[in-house]
């Protein structure tokens, strides 16, 4: 990572948590965890991300993880693409749905409301804005206003996280560490 404080500036209590994570998972602590534990009273976006990803919603956890992976792809964030592809893949119990969506959302074997929503999030992330017509197209595809709002919350969380992962230069670990992290995100969430 580009800032030394994010590698080695943590308080004693956080360093003890890292030691426990290494012991339990037998994997290195990933950079997203190091960021989350650095001065959480300043940044600490865990509760916001947790609510968006695990709070009550008509979208499944797998669909929201897929949205996170998709937004991360538009933001060109290798760490977040890998982390949230792994999480959605484990939740769905299959790879095809995730891989096909990231390869080409227009032809992927997913439900039309999810497809329309992903396209909207992609446009918002790429263009930094969307207009009412773009939202009307999603509502016409059968997505409820609350589902649009819930998807926008996922997009908010990952438009923050992706930027920081890229700007701080998160290291992308191998699949074993990513899968261990994904299982942790599914069992405990983001808090």
């Amino acid at each position: 990572m580009r800032l030394e404080i994010l590698e080695r500036g943590h308080r004693l209590r956080s360093r003890a948590v890292f030691a426990l994570i290494r012991l339990m998972s037998r994997q290195p602590v990933v950079d997203a965890v190091k960021l989350a534990f650095y001065r959480p009273e300043f940044y600490g976006a865990g509760p916001l991300t947790h609510e968006a990803m695990r709070g009550p919603s008509e979208w499944s956890v797998g669909d929201r993880e897929l949205m996170a992976a998709f937004v991360s792809k538009v933001n060109e964030s290798p760490f977040c693409i890998a982390a949230h592809s792994a999480t959605s893949r484990i939740w769905y119990g299959q790879d095809l749905r995730v891989a096909a969506t990231l390869a080409d959302v227009t032809t992927a074997p997913i439900e039309e409301p999810l497809r329309a929503t992903l396209i909207l999030l992609g446009k918002l992330t790429r263009d930094h804005a969307i207009d009412a017509d773009a939202v009307r197209a999603v509502l016409a595809a059968g997505v409820s206003p609350q589902q649009v709002e819930d998807a926008l919350a996922v997009c908010l969380a990952f438009n923050i996280t992706d930027r920081l992962a890229n700007a701080f230069g998160f290291h992308v670990p191998g699949p074993e560490a990513m899968n261990a992290g994904a299982r942790q995100l599914l069992s405990r969430g983001y808090r």
Partner: protein
């Protein structure tokens, strides 16, 4: 997800509030991506608009200009939160307009 708006407000209040080591005006400028001088202007604009293009040199220049690592951490967080917040606010306004027009 009624808690999202409160959690978002809380996050913004924290990064722009009293707990920071960088001056509040500098954090606000980074959040707004406006009114900054070089070399901070380049780093903050990259975080906001093309974070995948941030380089070691971008950060080294800001460090050489006198900011501490904690101050750099804070202004980069502010830039990311600020841009994501603007996008989210614009999208919610588009949703409201779309619903009003139906």
């Amino acid at each position: 997800m009624s808690d999202i708006r409160k959690l978002q407000r809380d996050l913004i209040a924290r990064v722009l509030g009293r707990g920071g080591k960088a001056p509040p005006a500098l954090r606000r400028a980074a959040f707004d991506n406006a009114g900054l001088d070089e070399p901070l202007r380049t780093l903050i604009d990259k975080v906001a608009h093309r974070a995948h293009r941030v380089t070691d040199e971008d950060i080294a220049e800001v460090r050489a200009a006198g900011l501490s690592e904690d101050q750099i951490f804070e202004v980069m967080v502010c830039a990311a939160v600020g841009q994501a917040h603007r996008q989210h606010t614009a999208a919610l306004a588009a949703l409201t307009e779309a619903l009003g027009g139906r």
